[in-house]
Symmetry: C3
Subunit: 288 residues, 3 copies
């Protein structure tokens, strides 16, 4: 079976119960735009309802897994504008427009769309293994953290990059990160927004295994899992998730509350503008 | 003091406030049968109420700590039967009979008997140190994870083996595992059911220390703890357990709900039958 | 800006949004006495309300970060007294007097003063980095665990020392420790009260990084963080803390309940007395 979705932003091929899902926006290193958000969420939902499914492998076509949010729109504008305190700069307006789709929530959901593309892999009741290479930055890393097991090439560039842009990891990332690393490591990675290699990511706990051939290893794990009783595997994932995802709905709501207090505000716009202008940012003190 | 229990399935020797508890079914590598379940739970309960106790060391006589559930009954039948969809195969019936004792719950308990043999070591208010060697498989590993500190011989064969039998770790194992390892490691170990050495178990966090003489090291730790103020040690265990065992009752209920949906069902019987017939299993898709 | 507090027990110097906070009781290795408790809590509260603040570095002047509770009062008495069962020994009385200030709680607080000197660094909304050297023992270690990130000199002597004195870590330490290390490691460290080096502390997860120049590294991290959008950094700390500090109020209350059942009781007094008399302690069995 082959299902190609939404302008081929994501391709899916299912064989022997294993779904081979690939981000497919090669010219942009699989950066997340509005169409990519919708495509990933739709594919995940379809797989979550497939009773024949045994395992999923999620990877990226081309040079990278996923370079994160598509900042192309901002970049074009960065030359012409500065941050304005009323938030009416072109950059701020662009962010608000771009986040409208990402921020949409279905009735009854505990996630908005940008969170859902990460969370849906926890809703898929079978094991989901991510194969990382090239870049897994920002939203791309959060997407990877939403899967169950991560295999990374040693040279993969990995970062919780959001604070660099005046943002926070708001796509389920703080919950997912807290399941993997100590409190101080999570804070260090998020505060510094530093880029680490697949090797360091493995040492810190963001990555399950390092391999020169991450997609092959991910497929191998998927085949092993697919040989187990599907009832037992689904039951085990449900039980482990029950613990590690406790309180997810409330936490995701808090992620949304905090991010909406940041997007388009003077300090966030200044972070983006200064980055594109390659100068140190000048931030204001807190207002309240 | 020496208390030998229930056909000597478990022996207890208390000296200087330290209980030396040994699984004692040497010819079966201390595999868990109905009598062993009862004996471990009874010994644990006695120790939990001993105000003179300072520490407990739990180990296995003979070649192994504990090889897990006793599948002897199944094995004898495996040649003569196949799985039947109505669950009336001899294997399925045998499982139901065997699980009747393991599934019994005392009034007011948060565990059934199979969970209780692991959980009771958290209820024992003094430190419990397990010394592992040979095998710690399936229920045997869950028993070890129920103790506070684990010392293992480097060659110990360790596995969350349940999924191999079409089951899940249902003896408190998913909660206990989640206190020790990252979410992805827990899933990898449970999904794959792979057997790891004491050395790898230490690297992953299942084992506190590796030693060529695990029982001696466990006894040494017990002696050190026994030299501390018993009030302080009990208070410290209570406080740490308060955090790491939060929500235990609800989680154990969920373990029971999921395991009762697996035992004796076609895919679980097929897992067992295929294992004994040394052939790949043929599983059915989910029914719902 | 320079604010020197309460007999200079703690000094604060703020430059470029970074508060350089130093424990300053050099002749006592910055041991915690009543004045030190008050000074740390007051400084923390001031910093928590400073809207211009970007980061905090907490370190100790002189040879050590902090050697823990000041037992000087006890030591003077240890020669003349033994434990009495009614708790009326000079040692027990001294402990009760000394703990009156440490045990005071402000209306609406979730901590008493001794807990507050650790907890306030979680309330400070910007990153707090501790630089450890010399000693970080008992209350000194708990103070360090209350910060977000810890940089330690490799030779730092680090210990959850409380059980050695017949006490438990009651200054938020069991919650903070549980965010960093596995359940078995926490128990091993607390039960044994053993002293580990900065290097082992790093391997176990108590310390984020080891450095020959911990204060310089801490300042470097603070400067990097201070270059990020302060709104984003504060939002990220709030989100991560939301998870790792869940249930803090109830846990701190339980810490207080347990410690008040220990202080000044026969076994606790015996622990202190035996330590000062350099003889093995003789503890009583539990009373209930």
């Amino acid at each position: 079976m082959n299902t190609n979705s939404q302008e081929d932003r994501v391709t899916v091929s299912i064989r022997d119960g294993i779904a081979d899902v690939r981000l497919n926006r090669v010219d942009k290193r699989n950066a997340l735009d509005s169409a990519m958000f919708s495509a990933i969420a739709r594919v995940g939902k379809e797989l979550a309802n497939d009773n024949n499914l045994r395992a999923v492998v999620l990877s990226g076509n081309g040079a990278s897994f996923c370079a994160g949010l598509d900042f192309g729109g901002f970049q074009a504008m960065a030359g012409s504008s500065g941050a304005s305190k009323d938030g009416n700069s072109p950059i701020a307006e662009s962010m608000e427009v771009d986040s409208q789709n990402a921020g949409s929530m279905e009735s009854g959901a505990i996630t908005h769309l940008a969170q859902q593309i990460c969370w849906v892999w926890q809703e898929v009741p079978v094991p989901v293994i991510a194969a990382l290479h090239g870049h897994a930055l920002g939203g791309g890393l959060q997407l990877a953290l939403g899967t169950d097991i991560r295999i990374a090439h040693p040279t993969t560039q990995i970062s919780m990059r959001e604070v660099h842009w005046g943002l926070i990891p708001d796509m389920t990332g703080t919950l997912m990160l807290s399941r993997l690393v100590r409190d101080d490591v999570a804070k260090d990675l998020v505060f510094s927004a530093r880029v680490i290699s697949g090797i360091e990511a493995h040492e810190l706990g963001l990555v399950t295994r390092v391999s020169e051939t991450p997609l092959e290893v991910a497929m191998q794990i998927a085949r092993e899992v697919a040989g187990r009783s599907p009832d037992a595997v689904r039951g085990a994932k449900a039980l482990i998730n029950r613990l590690s995802n406790a309180g997810a709905a409330e936490h995701f709501a808090e992620e949304r509350r905090i991010i909406y207090g940041l997007i388009g505000k003077p300090n966030q716009v200044e972070a983006v503008t200064a980055n594109f202008e390659k100068r140190p940012a000048k931030f204001e003190a807190l207002q309240n």
